[in-house]
């Protein structure tokens, strides 16, 4: 079986003086994951 997630998340901030809030995956194709592990993070 397969689970597909599709979601909105912060992309690049408009203003250069702010930290990039872009969402980033911390996994890649082929990685084994366990429920509860972070697969992506972003900064507020």
């Amino acid at each position: 079986s397969t689970v597909v997630l599709v979601f909105q998340a912060p992309a690049l901030k408009k203003h250069k003086d702010q930290l990039p809030s872009e969402f980033r995956f911390c996994v890649e194709k082929g990685d084994k994951v366990r429920m509860g592990e972070a697969i992506g993070r972003w900064h507020d």
Binding site: V4, F7, P10, A38, I39
Partner: protein, 372 residues
Amino acid sequence: FFFLRNLHSATNQARASINGSGSSSGSKGNPFLVPGATVATIFMLGALHARRMYSDKKIEEARDSGIELELQPDVKAKFLMMLPLRFISRFWGFLSSTELPVWLRPYAHRAWARAFHSNLEEVALPLDQYASVKDFFVRSLKEGCRPVDTDQHSLISPVDGTIVRVGELKEGVMIEQVKGFSYSVSSLLGAGSFLPLMAAKDIHQHDGSQQENNIRDESTKSWWRISLASPKLRESSSSRPMKGLFYCVIYLRPGDYHRIHSPVDWNVLLRRHFSGRLYPVNERATRTIKNLYVENERVVLEGKWQEGYIAMAAVGATNIGSIELFIEPSLRTNQPRKKLLQSEAPEERLYEPEGTGVLLKKGDQVGVFNMG
């Protein structure tokens, strides 16, 4: 052919000798037939297995050398399309739900764990508490086996499994199934989906003729279509953080823990169930069957979270045809086909109260895949 010709001549000699003696054996069966057929069957199965191992090895080598295999529909995929997969899936579910004698259960579940590399240390109950293989398949885990990442700016994996694809959806809202073939997210989630990119496009690109019948549709759901439309497409001068659309595809092997959890804190507003087909979804199937995830039976949950739109699609497979939702226990999937040929429209349910739906916290159990 050589083997069969020898077998044939051997049986002729045997028959001649039996007829020659006349009296003794009379109507005794042919002594070579059973062992001959058995040897031939074992030989054939061995040859097929060797061929499968060879092709798997070739694929492994290709992958290790960084070559991405392309979509290659083959005879097996075409043969699969003709099989009564739903009947096979339901029959498998019937077999796996057979209650086992208590003394046999540990052996059966250990055999399953060995065959599919399940981790028995994490199983919540003693093995003899699982009355059937099906019960064992939907097992829960011991407390503390899956700590949930508490970083409030993290999105967690909803299941155990292997990452098949991750990425950001750019203009085309297409997800690559395999090199050379992509499927559209709106086909996966459903034409009525609230996918923000589509919503924004819908509003700007609607032609007059569709307008009236969409107004009704829009009015029932527009309150959060508009709210989810991506600012990237709505207000280019927005000082708010831009929003992107991201996706992640996770494949669960038969031995994995099969409960589905919530990836973030979110409100589930709608459930959409596609009866679809039940092709296998293993690595070989993704390389040989087009639109695999769009064809297969699946349950889509749509809602909103702090960053906007979110959807989760649980896609079934031949051996794992059922998807049960803890937030909607009455939902039944993998039902006998009512209409043989045409694919049925998805069946939707808006969760009450409207606009709030069902609130799920990160890590909450949402549902479970099951056999049959």
